[in-house]
Amino acid sequence: MYRTISIVVDNQAGVLAKVSNLFCRRGYNIDSLAVGTTENPLLSRITVVVQCNDRILEQIVHQLDKLVCVHKVKVLKEDAKVTRELVLIKVKADSSNRNDIIQIANIFRAKIIDISLTTLTLELTGEDPKTNALLDMIKYFGVIEVARTGFVAMDRGESNIYIEE
């Protein structure tokens, strides 16, 4: 089962290493990981998507909590969160199929951010079913390379990571 965990950590060198080291040595599977600074320049936010059962999830949360550099750990509720990922896709495109690709991009509301005689680069922001659906459609044309940021996520509504629930 996929779960999304938000972690607020010190914005310092080595912190990401400590967090990923923890996942690695305890054998927890990271599906995606995204990190960046927060509204407070001294703190960073790591968003991790893991695949695990409830027992392992409990372990992940409490092992993370023990790290000195970790300030807050929150497992986001699956039905009460907003999630986004950004994907760049470079696809083979020439005069014969360029229009088809552009049509598909428009249907998904993906942007075209680069063009050459033989390629098109698309940018899509979205949640999982949408991004994977676009990739599946585009595969037909010949995908050259894909770069994904991994998911960032947040509670819906008035809830936030700093409030004890």
Partner: protein, 537 residues
């Protein structure tokens, strides 16, 4: 003032009077300061950094203070790794201070450079490479809190050489101390979850046959007295893990013996028939429970531990209380109802055979150590059969007197740890029980024993084998013994003599008693080379 002086002053401020270490280029500035502070801080230079690491560990366990270990960069730091891991697995508060190359050389594969923080990340509670003198001040101060809060553990601080050698003015120093914001302790729960507490009280009151298992946390929390009151109030047998031996006195009528024994022998009825299993300060290591998780999980389980992450990690509990064992037990004992006192006829107390013949047997050796040295003795072991014999046969009456590498099982722990234990409890006798395998690993620390006049009694269970490993080969690999026989042992008495330490080969119990008494009275280190049969198990 330079970084090195700032560091040493901080250690003194934190009541440090003993440091274990080994000098090297990157930390020579620290040694220069230590040289001029010899009357305040004693530095013990070992033969190998691993010995220093184990010594700082043993010192912390015996004294209750924070152990301090100092080494240089590169190989100096990597030589500490086993010692750091051993301290981590047994939750011992030690601060490891390592030097590193200058800031501008970091990451360029310099001489004696290594990514110390990267290597020690998984085996420390926290580690940090400081990049400025301000960070040095903060990190060292914080380290004392981090190492000792909640579940204790080792902290490593890596300091580039130029920061140790950097000079600062008095006003700069004042600025650093004024700007220091003390580390805020992590959310260590001091308010027990009241629903869980009520549930625990309910489960205990309703239970007809409770059974208690205590672990190292009980010793670390100094909760022996509270535990005994708690157990007596509900008339519950108490078993213990390796790390808790002595927290319940061996002679106490409610003491049920070591738990891994109970699991293996399946003889203790009170455990088999119990309806409530109360675990205090234990992490249910696989060494403790063997394959017996289901036997425990069948019962109602209450898990009391200071580390929230241990709850439901190995064993599922019906109720858990996160907090300091001492405080939790105090509160619980107050709230629960008293149960009638009955004679539980624990099998541990019925297994009493005292052998009278003169044969050198581990059980007799251990009993004689107790008889002759007394219950004040600190018993340090290495790892192997001798360690298991000690855990099984030595009658510990006091908590924290069994010093052993329980969680990590690091062979070679013994001599270093014994040195630390002596310095942590100067007026108490220290006995090291070791095996030939383990002793061969770090006997170089005999030099340290002699140099520091440590009156260490070494009982070497010399059976010409890696006994425990050989035992596994006997059963699992059908006696296909390979590389577990130590045929060509050194002459250990001569080896000790070369380190200026007296010793004797022992082949009979009467010899053992005589020489042990002599060793004890001599107040000097002594090695008893006890010849044990290779097939003794």
């Amino acid at each position: 003032m330079n970084g090195a002086k700032l560091l040493v002053d901080l250690l003194i401020k934190h009541d440090v009077d003993t440091v274990f270490g080994y000098p090297g280029a990157t930390v020579l500035s620290v040694y220069d300061v230590l040289n001029s502070h010899k009357n305040i801080i004693k530095h013990i230079r070992t033969s190998h950094e691993q010995g220093a690491a184990h010594a700082a560990d043993g010192y912390a366990r015996a004294s209750g203070k924070t152990g301090i270990c100092l080494s240089t960069s590169g190989p100096g730091a990597t030589n500490l790794v086993t010692g750091i891991a051993a301290a981590y697995m047994d939750s011992v508060p030690v601060i490891f201070i390592t030097g590193n190359v200058e800031c501008d050389k970091i990451g360029t594969d310099s001489f004696q450079e290594v990514d110390t923080t990267g290597i020690t990340m998984p085996i420390t509670k926290h580690n940090h490479m400081v990049r400025s003198i301000e960070e040095l001040y903060t990190s060292v101060n914080d380290a004392f809190i981090i190492a000792n809060e909640g579940r204790k553990g080792p902290v490593l601080i890596d300091i580039p050489q130029d920061i140790l050698e950097q000079n600062i003015s008095d006003s700069e120093y004042k600025k650093i101390t004024n700007n220091y914001i003390c580390y805020k302790s992590k959310n260590i729960m001091t308010n027990y979850d009241t629903t869980q507490l009520e549930l625990a009280v309910k489960l205990i009151n309703e239970s007809k046959h409770p059974f208690i298992l205590i672990g190292g946390g009980t010793v670390s929390s100094k909760a022996s007295e509270e535990l005994i009151n708690f157990a007596e109030k509900i008339n519950s047998p108490v078993s213990c893990t390796f790390m808790a031996l002595g927290a319940m006195p061996n002679s106490h009528p409610l003491f049920a013996g070591g738990f891994s024994n109970i699991c293996t022998l399946q003889k203790e009825k009170t455990f088999i028939d119990s309806d409530l299993f109360i675990a205090i300060g234990t992490r249910f290591s696989n060494r403790t429970t063997k394959t017996d998780k289901s036997l425990i999980e069948q019962k109602k389980v209450i898990h009391i531990d200071v580390d929230r992450a241990e709850i439901n990690k190995n064993i599922s509990s019906d109720c858990f209380l996160v907090g300091d064992a001492k405080k939790v037990l105090e509160i619980l004992t107050d709230k629960i109802n008293k149960k009638a006192k009955t004679d539980l006829e624990l099998s541990h107390h019925s297994d009493v055979e005292i052998s009278q013949n003169d044969e050198l047997k581990p059980k007799n050796i251990l009993q004689e150590i107790k008889n002759i040295i007394g219950e004040e003795a600190y018993i340090v072991t290495d790892v192997g059969l001798h360690q298991l014999w000690t855990a099984q046969f030595y009658p510990f009456e006091k908590p924290g007197h069994f010093i052993t590498s329980g969680g990590f099982g690091a062979m070679g722990f013994g001599v270093g740890a014994a040195i630390g234990v002596h310095l942590g409890q100067k007026n108490k006798p220290v006995v090291l029980i070791t095996g030939d395998g383990s002793f061969n690993m770090n006997c170089n620390e005999l030099a340290t024993v002699y140099e520091n006049n440590i009156p260490l009694i070494i009982v070497l269970m010399h059976n010409n084998s890696l006994g425990l490993v050989r035992f596994i080969q006997k059963n699992k690999f059908k006696k296909r013994y390979f590389e577990t026989t130590l045929k060509h042992s050194p002459n250990y008495v001569m080896l000790a003599k070369s380190y200026h330490i007296k010793g004797k080969v022992i082949r009979k119990m009467s010899d053992f008693k005589e020489n042990l008494l002599m060793a004890k009275d001599s107040m000097k280190p002594f090695l008893l080379d006890c010849r044990i049969d290779i097939n003794e198990a």
